[in-house]
């Protein structure tokens, strides 16, 4: 197996006297969809920010694509950042620019392609995330929440990153929209051979598209496939999967699996 795209070793995160992560370890394999789950306040978003280099770790190392971001200066960091795409919770689109300008930004920042080719690539990305072409000329405030997420995704995959980070991709979407978004992510992951790291609360998403699940428990990470995690004897995990929402999603998942096996 090739080297993991992200390797977290002994990560420590503190806020004042409060320790959020204590010796956390995590590997993200190439080409997988890894879902990070955990209760509120267990530091999922902080972990994501730390991996992205937006926050300095208080201890331990993080290697992204074989490079330790903390060791690199801004100049050396750029090529690594270029290979990562991030979809923030509400898209984090730049509100003063149109969607097309938002998608164009990474191209002008990181490449020297001519304007026409970039325009064509923007059209391709819009089509890839399932947005109509006329969405390109709109500003984010004119879009619905679901469309904003798609536009954010289009910006995140603009440069064909190796790793895609998603922060609660289906939060705030209706169940149908969420299921479609899950499909879209799976679809793009296959087409572009992405490694995907996503934070989610959505049990449906977990069951539908995650290859492996990482659970933040007691400041550490427990990683496994859905079945392994389901069997993990920790009260939080048990409650998570055996609560009413968990059971419903599970039933759907098993049914789908059953159909496949027939």
């Amino acid at each position: 197996m090739s080297a993991p795209v992200i390797r977290v070793r002994g990560l420590v995160t503190r806020f004042g006297s409060q320790t959020v992560h204590d010796g956390l370890e995590l590997d993200v394999r190439r080409g997988e969809i890894l879902a990070i789950v955990g209760g509120s306040g267990t530091g999922k978003s902080v972990l994501l920010r730390t991996i992205l280099g937006l926050k300095h770790p208080d201890g331990g190392t993080i290697e992204v694509l074989g490079r330790n971001l903390a060791d690199l200066d801004d100049e050396a960091r750029r090529p690594v950042l270029r290979r990562m795409g991030v979809l923030f919770q509400d898209g984090a689109l730049f509100s003063a620019r149109t969607v097309a300008q938002n998608i164009r930004l990474p191209f002008t920042e990181h490449t020297d392609l001519d304007h026409r080719l970039v325009t064509q690539l923007i059209r391709v990305k819009l089509a890839m995330v399932g947005l109509p072409q006329e969405a390109g000329s709109k500003i984010p405030a004119e879009l619905s929440g679901g469309m904003r997420k798609r536009a954010g995704l289009a910006r995140a995959i603009a440069l064909d990153p190796d790793v895609l980070f998603l922060d609660e991709p289906t939060a705030g979407l209706d169940p149908i929209g969420a299921a479609k978004f899950d499909e879209l992510i799976r679809d793009l992951q296959r087409a572009l051979s992405l490694s995907v790291v996503m934070i989610t609360h959505d049990v449906d998403t977990l069951c539908a598209i995650a290859d492996r699940i990482a659970v933040l428990l007691d400041k550490k990470m427990v990683v496994g496939t859905l079945d392994e995690i389901r069997a993990y004897p920790h009260p939080w995990v048990q409650e998570y999967f055996s609560g009413p929402r968990g059971r419903a999603a599970q039933a759907g998942h098993d049914a789908a699996k059953g159909r496949k096996d027939d």
Partner: protein, 384 residues
Amino acid sequence: MDGEGSERADAGWARARFDGAAMVVALGGRWTLANARNLESSLARVETKGAKAMTVDMEKVAAIDSAGAWLLHRQILRWQETGSEIALANASHAQGSLLARMAIESEPRRPLARPTLGAIGELATRTGEATVDLAEEAHALVSFVGAVAATWLRAWRRPARVRLVSTVHHVERIGIDALPIMGLLAFLIGVVLAFQGADQLRQYGAEVFTINLLGVSVLREIGVLITAIMVAGRTGSAFAAEIGTMKVNQEVDAMRTLGLDPMETLVLPRLIALAVALPMLVFFADAMALAGGAVMVIAGLDLSLAQFLEQLAGAVTLSTYLVGLVKAPVFAILIGIVACYEGLKVSGSAESVGIHTTRSVVKSIFLVIVADAGFSILFSRLGI
């Protein structure tokens, strides 16, 4: 082939060759965004000699991303336009499906830029929009003043509804917290005024009238005007930004659903606080400006404090002071109404908060000066 580009192991390339009678375009290397320029030129150099049928052989392609796939797709379309039949060979499943995604020709092509009407059209549109906006703005502001007045009257009848804690808190922020900067500012203005006045009046040997100049101008106009402008900048902007941020966070909506009237909870305490604090600040600014002037006059004109006070007492009367002071509550209400109005007009984004904060400051300073001119006319008619 292009010399250095194709020799690099990680570059992408395209080459045409004849395989018996059939034309084969062999692709290889990394078809990725980083190589896009080199791929574009490489593709442009492929000489197909108008072949009727071509095979695109992807066997040697090491990697392909959406940029590479798009370039290939675009080229295939061009070849097809010249009447060639294209077949793909040795494409992996993933490569095939990525290429299939590039087929966006069927989608209606819409401009990606926002539609524009050209320079003249834009000018006309904006002029029209600005005119309509102005009318709507005037209407909305008048309605807002009415709503404030109605709230005020309600509060008058039922004083218990006035948020006393909030009001006192705002008085502290508007008034007491502003004392140091207001005092310094007024003191320096007094110094400058006395210095310039003495300089001019010396030519006529009338230096002592510097004190008259100082007393009348500070008490009637400058004290209250400087204070109002300072408060518009310092407090008006803070009000607009505070209320605006609450709008963005939907706090104002939350208040309404909880049955709280934003007029009563947000606007009224701020207005009352301004109406109370501004006159007090004006009093302080007047005193500090006179003190600044006194320091300048005593040091520069070689007068004693007693002489200064005597001359001042002869120059100004109580009405001079009151003429200045009576404007303060009016200015306070103007500033408060504009600031709260702009704050409540914020919608959606962080940008909107900035726009309305700026507008609140500009508008309230403008209105303060207009009102001051109005007062001047009024007082001269009244002969005060």
